[in-house]
């Protein structure tokens, strides 16, 4: 298979007749397949060694035992020798009489639900405005919407820590307006600081997904709604909202999934035990001798719970890619 001399430099443009005259010999199927396999192989091996095997390691530790002397976890690789002691411990932590993890789980659900609903209420109008009404300033708005995406999460949290300090600008503005008589300790374990921190941290991702979804809606459909006599609100409810349902679902998913595993927002903006979330629980157990096995169980449980939304996301992404083809 040598290339004939004078291989043309110009690449044929689409719209020509690609499958027209088949002059050259085509590579035979077998050789071709081997080539693709060889290309994909490094990535596949990498995923096996550093994605699939690590999760088996977590399973082996979760079902493993504890080295009593060093308080270190012993991984048990053979499924027939698995012990359930870690699982039982975690079960007691979650549902037992002296459960301390149960309230943390409920709090996590509450915080994440509140933060994601609030995010949607803020993100949707903004994304809707930029997608539909920003006109020639669309690129400007889009740059401003995307900017937080490029700014490190830690920097953005740091910004709020600066503002929320007892002598920070938030307290100063509020007391200048006469809304508070003495400075509020915003960073001292307040649940709404944590929820607002979560909203602030993850809303850029949601806005981008919503924008992409709303921007794709054909304006003619909305105009048709208006022409057929619906008012503005009803056009929105009957036309725009249903058409953006998929974007809302995807956007909520990609904000909820990381929020559930977040431990740093909470730690930075409150640091108090009365606002700690599941992420804090897992991260705390990771460095603690004797508790690492339970950390492994908890993170697997979390994975199990999140598997349904994750699989939904994977399938819907795959479907939309295939539809685009």
């Amino acid at each position: 298979m040598t290339a004939p001399p004078g291989l043309p430099r110009a690449i044929p443009q689409p719209g020509g007749a690609p499958g027209g005259a088949r002059r050259g010999r085509r590579p035979d199927k077998k050789q071709s397949k081997a080539f693709w396999i060889a290309l994909a192989a490094p990535g596949i091996i990498w995923l096996i060694l550093l994605f699939i095997v690590p999760f088996y390691a977590v399973l082996a530790i979760a079902m493993g035992q504890l080295n009593r002397l060093f308080e270190s976890p012993i991984a048990v690789w053979n499924p027939f020798a698995w012990s359930s002691s870690n699982v039982i411990n975690v079960w007691h932590d979650l549902f037992g009489a002296t459960s301390f993890a149960g309230p943390i789980v409920l709090r996590t659900i509450g915080y994440v639900a509140a933060a994601s609903v609030l995010s949607l209420l803020i993100a949707y109008p903004a994304a809707y405005f930029v997608a539909r009404f920003s006109g020639r300033r669309k690129a400007l708005f889009l740059i401003l919407l995307i900017a937080p995406f490029w700014i490190s999460f830690m920097m953005r949290m740091l910004a709020w820590i600066d503002l929320l300090q007892t002598n920070g600008y938030v307290n100063r503005v509020l007391s200048a307006l006469g809304l508070i008589s003495q400075p509020v300790n915003w960073l001292g374990g307040k649940w709404f600081t944590v929820v607002l921190g979560l909203v602030y941290g993850y809303i850029p991702y949601l806005i981008l997904v919503l924008f992409a979804g709303l921007d794709r809606i054909d304006p003619a459909l909305i105009e048709a709604g208006r022409d057929l006599g619906l008012n503005r609100v009803r056009t929105f409810v009957r036309v725009t909202l249903p058409l953006s349902r998929q974007a809302i679902l995807t956007g909520m998913l990609i904000t909820v999934l990381p929020m559930v595993g977040d431990y740093f927002t909470n730690q930075l903006l409150s640091g108090a035990a009365n606002t700690s979330m599941v992420g804090n629980l897992i991260q705390g157990q990771l460095g603690t001798p004797g508790l690492e096995g339970q950390g492994a169980v908890l993170s697997l449980l979390l994975l199990l719970v999140l598997l349904v939304p994750m699989v939904y996301y994977v399938i819907s992404t795959n479907r939309s890619t295939r539809e685009a083809a």
């Binding site: 290339a3 690449i11 693709w36 550093l50 490190s152 820590i161 300090q165």
Partner: protein, 314 residues
Amino acid sequence: MTATSAPARAAEPSGTTARTGLSRLLPRRNPWGHPWFLEGFTWLYLIWSLVPIAIAVLFSFNNGKSQAAWQGFSWRWYFTDPVNSVLHNPQLHAAVIQTVRLSVLTTIIAVPLGVAFALGINRWRGVTSSTFNYVMILSFVIPELIFGVAMFFVFTVLFTSVHLGTLAEVLGLVTWNVSWPAIIVQARLVTLGRQYEEAAADLGANQVSTMRRVMIPLLGPAIFASAVLVFSGVIDDFVIVDLLSSNASNTPMSVIIYSTQHGGNGGPALNALGTIMLAMSLIIAALGYVAYRWATRGERGSGIEALTTIAGSE
């Protein structure tokens, strides 16, 4: 520069009906009147989202130890302070270098790995390939903490010759970020179709030269975009490096900011560190945008499209 290339479609609702003569004769109720409330709301959101960061950047130039009270402009937290500036504090200095090192290493490994994976998986149809495609997308959506826990255990229990530190961080970050090129390049392959490859094959090119001379140039923009996303993703990454770093010499900027600020007043040197991170990301983003526009210059499309691609939302 981008404002002029915004698609005309975007400007349509507010412009078209108002300009016809007929609409002037009709009652003043313009069905597409500008939604001032929405616009005000959007600006409020933007102020809420960006002004705090601007203030934080400002305080990195504060001539005092406070992160909340302005005491005049200075560069002391960047260079001039002999002890606590980013330049002279060994921990902060090492953090900047570690972040750059991790970003470069991860991008160099993850991008070729992901591009090759995307090409191979996309053309090799079979149970194995589609299974691993799902695994790849799963690695994209799995919460970072759960992934980080798995990485932590695999390096402390199984692959113990990889100690926690730079090597573990790079391996973890590559696995976490390889899905960017894998997914973006696949999306581009789907839009390209197979016609270019078939044409090249018809003209007698073998597979390797088809790859090198046809596919890689066509995939250029997607490869660029994913490299930018990987690089800036590593700069911003926190969870994986937090779990996999072992001492001050391999702790990057995000972890330093977190561990110093947590529970106390870290001082404006942290704002300086954050500002350096921000500048790095924005420069990478701007370079990526320009490169992307340049690579797709012959194609239809807009600045908006380039922006959303660079931000990773196709």
